[in-house]
């Protein structure tokens, strides 16, 4: 059964209210929400090589309509994200239907539906002064000494134009308040951004959360190798807690505060509240 028939069945069996897939518009494959009211549009449903965060769209839809049942095209990275969003109670697994598509080429399917098949190219200057996109996180620490690594990371971080694209595109960035917008951590309205603090704040918040989809690196206008950074952070989480974000719907080791916290421990605000209370 092909993709379009599968989606049609989901609508006929009344399992979903909206299906998130891709549709061509003026030669661009763009995400689109297919609904029952406009079933004729389904003929145009496609899989796209370019990846948009359909899960993030699903969380936006769920914010507006809490009981909406959503279907979506899902690759492995999408599935990992969904698992993580279930873990943090941002989406209800009962309201999500996925149609899994392959993202790896195989003898049966030479075409793959992912823009990531070709490894990113790293230029010569970046190789000598910065960090190779394709550096192996396992050997990276051994390949360069401390000083060298620091200067390479600083070269990368110094390019940052503070666009917040890495946070905006991130499917697992869903906090109500973002530390990167907290005036006492990141000074608002100034450039250049405080390095490496800005990137390290985000990196620590990606611990136990980043599902390694690579969208942030794709969206970074300055080609900062964010994926490698978050992989390193998550290697620590995986070593200590044996937890790999998105691998299942097990509770994250970072949900220590209890069932109810939806990533809202906000220690910074707690401190501010305290300051107000004691008139500091």
């Amino acid at each position: 059964m092909n993709l379009i028939d599968q989606v049609e069945q989901l609508f006929i069996q009344d399992k979903i209210d909206i299906f998130l897939g891709y549709k061509a518009l003026d030669g661009h494959l763009l995400p689109h929400g297919f609904t029952r009211d406009r079933m004729e549009e389904l003929k145009a449903l496609q899989v796209s090589e370019g990846r948009y965060s359909l899960e993030k769209i699903a969380t936006h839809l769920t914010e507006k309509h809490p009981d909406i049942r959503i279907g979506m095209i899902a690759r492995e990275c999408n599935l990992r994200t969904l698992n993580l969003l279930y873990t943090w109670k941002q989406l209800n697994p009962e309201n999500i239907e996925t149609i899994n598509i392959s993202c790896c080429p195989s003898p049966l399917k030479p075409h793959s539906d992912c823009s990531y098949l070709e490894p990113k190219q790293t230029g010569a200057y970046k190789k000598t002064h910065g960090i190779d996109f394709n550096a192996d996180p396992d050997t990276f620490l051994d390949d360069f000494n401390n000083k060298n690594r620091f200067s390479r990371w600083m070269y990368e971080f110094n390019k940052c134009i503070k666009c917040y694209g890495c946070r905006n595109i991130c499917p697992v960035c869903f906090c109500d308040e973002c530390s990167l917008e907290h005036a006492s951590l990141v000074e608002p309205g100034t450039l250049p951004v405080d390095v490496p603090i800005f990137h390290l704040i985000r990196a620590t918040h990606m611990a136990g959360r980043c599902i390694d989809c690579g969208l942030c690196e794709d969206a970074c206008p300055m080609d900062i190798p964010l994926r490698l950074l978050y992989r390193q952070v998550n290697a620590i989480v995986s070593d200590i807690f044996d937890y790999r974000p998105g691998n299942g719907t097990d509770q994250s080791p970072f949900t220590i505060i209890g069932e109810k916290t939806v990533l809202e421990p906000k220690p910074m605000d707690a401190q501010l509240e305290g300051e107000k209370e004691y008139g500091l």
């Binding site: 763009l30 689109h32 936006h60 839809l61 134009i161 917040y164 694209g165 794709d218």
Partner: protein
């Protein structure tokens, strides 16, 4: 319930990055970079990422305003354009065409810029026309 994605060009500067508006129930909810756009290849700056904020801002002008008795009053487009034409003619008659200058912008299209300089030279009759990219 409705969710669609509308491609557009960022209105902030002359680069012309492709953006995608996430429209939920008829309201722009978020801005995304367009992955397949030849100009920006799925990347945006902070202004482009926040296009939806000003579109939905309550402070946004939705009608032309004419200043009367020291206060801005809502007006129709015909009234506003008519008012501007009358005032331009007054200035031109009293002080000559060189009393008027036109500044155009990188945010508008090449054709609109062409029209603006044509308007300045042929209609107003002055060479006082300049462009923000020439600063």
């Amino acid at each position: 319930m409705d969710c669609k994605f509308v491609p557009a060009v960022c209105s902030y500067c002359g680069t012309g990055c492709g953006v995608l508006f996430e429209v939920i129930d008829g309201k722009i909810n978020a801005t995304l970079p367009m992955k397949s756009h030849p100009v920006n290849h799925g990347k945006l700056c902070i202004k482009g990422w926040n296009l939806h904020e000003y579109i939905n801002s309550y402070m946004r002008l939705k009608t032309p305003l004419i200043k009367e008795d020291g206060r801005f009053q809502k007006a129709t487009w015909d009234e506003a354009i008519g008012h501007a034409a009358v005032k331009f003619n007054q200035i031109k008659d009293q002080f000559g065409p060189d009393a008027i200058g036109v500044l155009v912008s990188a945010k508008i299209t090449n054709e609109e810029n062409y029209l603006a300089q044509k308007f300045t030279r042929a209609v107003i009759g002055t060479n006082n026309v300049d462009h923000c990219a020439r600063l």
